[in-house]
């Protein structure tokens, strides 16, 4: 089984737990999750990962509302960073604010996944994401 390395950028511990739980039993793919507790940590982690062979995340799951640096700011950083620019970024959202979504798309978000209001739905969305990743990187 292939392993998908994910950087989860999320400040809420419960959400981290639930997302880990939803990702634990995906079919055909194992995931290795690293967590950044806010935007600042995520940006620092990405800068460091440049020098770590094999350690670089292959997918970023990004919450929008966080202390210190919010998700939109992280997205801006990633798209401006030569090395990280190509990383797929999936925005985790419980926000119905159309402006947030539009802004995230404008800044180069690849996809949206709903916050785990419904475990099955989150799992199926993440499964689709993993399948897509498996296809494009096969």
């Amino acid at each position: 089984m292939r392993t998908l390395r994910i950087l989860l950028v999320e400040d809420d511990h419960d959400h981290v737990f639930l997302i880990r739980r939803a990702l634990a039993d995906l079919d055909d793919v194992a995931v290795a999750i690293e967590v950044a507790g806010d935007g600042q940590q995520a940006v620092e982690r990405l800068a460091r990962s440049r020098f770590e062979a094999g350690g670089r995340p292959q997918l970023i799951l990004l919450d929008l509302k966080m202390p210190r640096m919010d998700g939109l700011e992280v997205l801006r950083h990633i798209r401006a960073d030569e090395a990280a620019r190509g990383l797929p970024v999936v925005v985790l959202t419980s926000s119905e604010r159309q402006e947030d979504r539009e802004e995230a798309l404008r800044l180069g978000a690849s996809w949206f996944v709903c916050k785990p209001t419904d475990g099955r739905r989150l799992r199926s969305e993440l499964q689709q994401l993993a399948d897509h990743w498996a296809r494009v990187t096969a």
Binding site: L18, R120, L122
Partner: protein
Amino acid sequence: MTGPEGVVAVLELFVTHERAGELGRLERIARVAEELGPLVERRRANEALAASREQFQAVTEAAVDAIVSADSSGRLLTWNRGAERMFGWAAEEVVGRPLTMIIPERFRKLHTDGIARVARTGTSKLAGQVVELAGLRRDGSEFPIELSIGSWTQPEGLAFSGVLRDITERKRAEAALAGANRELERANAELETLVYSASHDLKSPMVSLLGYLEYLRLDYGDVLGPEGNRYLNRMADSTVYMQQLLHDLIDLSRVGRSGVEPVAVDLDRLVRAIAEDAGAANPRMELRVGRLPVVTGDPVGLRQLFTNLLENAVRHGGRPDLVVVVDGRERPDGGVELSVRDNGQGIPPEHRERVFGVFERLEGPSTSDGTGMGLAICRKIVDVLGGAIGIQGDRGTDVRIILPAATPARWPAQELTAGVSR
């Protein structure tokens, strides 16, 4: 007898017989009459003038407002009692002196420039208008005035009359009202921001709660047994309901906050799309859409308005074969009247206003019947458009919405003769 304007009086002379030797007498009489004519006329004019002056005097002296007049060089000609009271100068102290003495220093140049312009062009751009200015009292204090200016031509040139009203009280009331409004708006905005951010912050733990419930059921459902699972289901239902409440609170506080540019919204298309969804979910119900205009407004708000109203009808109609009609008509004042009516169980007249309150429901809480905020959101959406919404009807529920003429609307060119189509 004639004057410059024609015949002014008729002089009648009677002679019993014509005496010989007085040739030219008639001509002499005619000459006298000719000279008398203008005299009679002038006398009459003087009398009329005196009466008019007296009338003017009486009116101006009785007036509460200050009434003054000035010549084209800005020198005061008249000064009534009102002016004496308002400015503190007696008429004999000011008549003949320049008008600038009642104008605050910083406005005097404007005034003298205006006078010069009038002297040059022969017309005044302020004549016939009402302007707000500041006046200067004898004691040096200033106060706001409203001034209306008239002008007329006299032998010496253009002259002006001014009626000045002390608007100190009005200004004070206006400022107090504006201040109170600002305070109210600020408090309202603060409250809405609070509701908005509180509901937003509550969403995150709600998401966790639902997530854990889900995994509790998945991972430990077997161990909990049927009664334990029933508790779990009740918890999940309540949490979902609470989440719905939060969504509605956010919707409610968002209406009017977003500052969306109003655009043309085709209500016909909008309502048909919503009716299609509602009809698909309730196959035995009949939803009719009549003649609806294109109005100018926030498309998200208008969609929510009709979604909530149709949802309410379907949810509270109380019969599976409910008929809901959405229709519109043009009001004589150019406004728009829209109606969403059904033949369901209706709302008793005593509750018709209450249902527009926040969290108001007639049937008491249950997870399937909504949060009781739908109509409160509707009212707010209509309020933002400057309109009104209310419930009427003897049978079923008839929700009427009136949008003001200021909400530009375009009606379909041809009236559909059937009025209603499926």
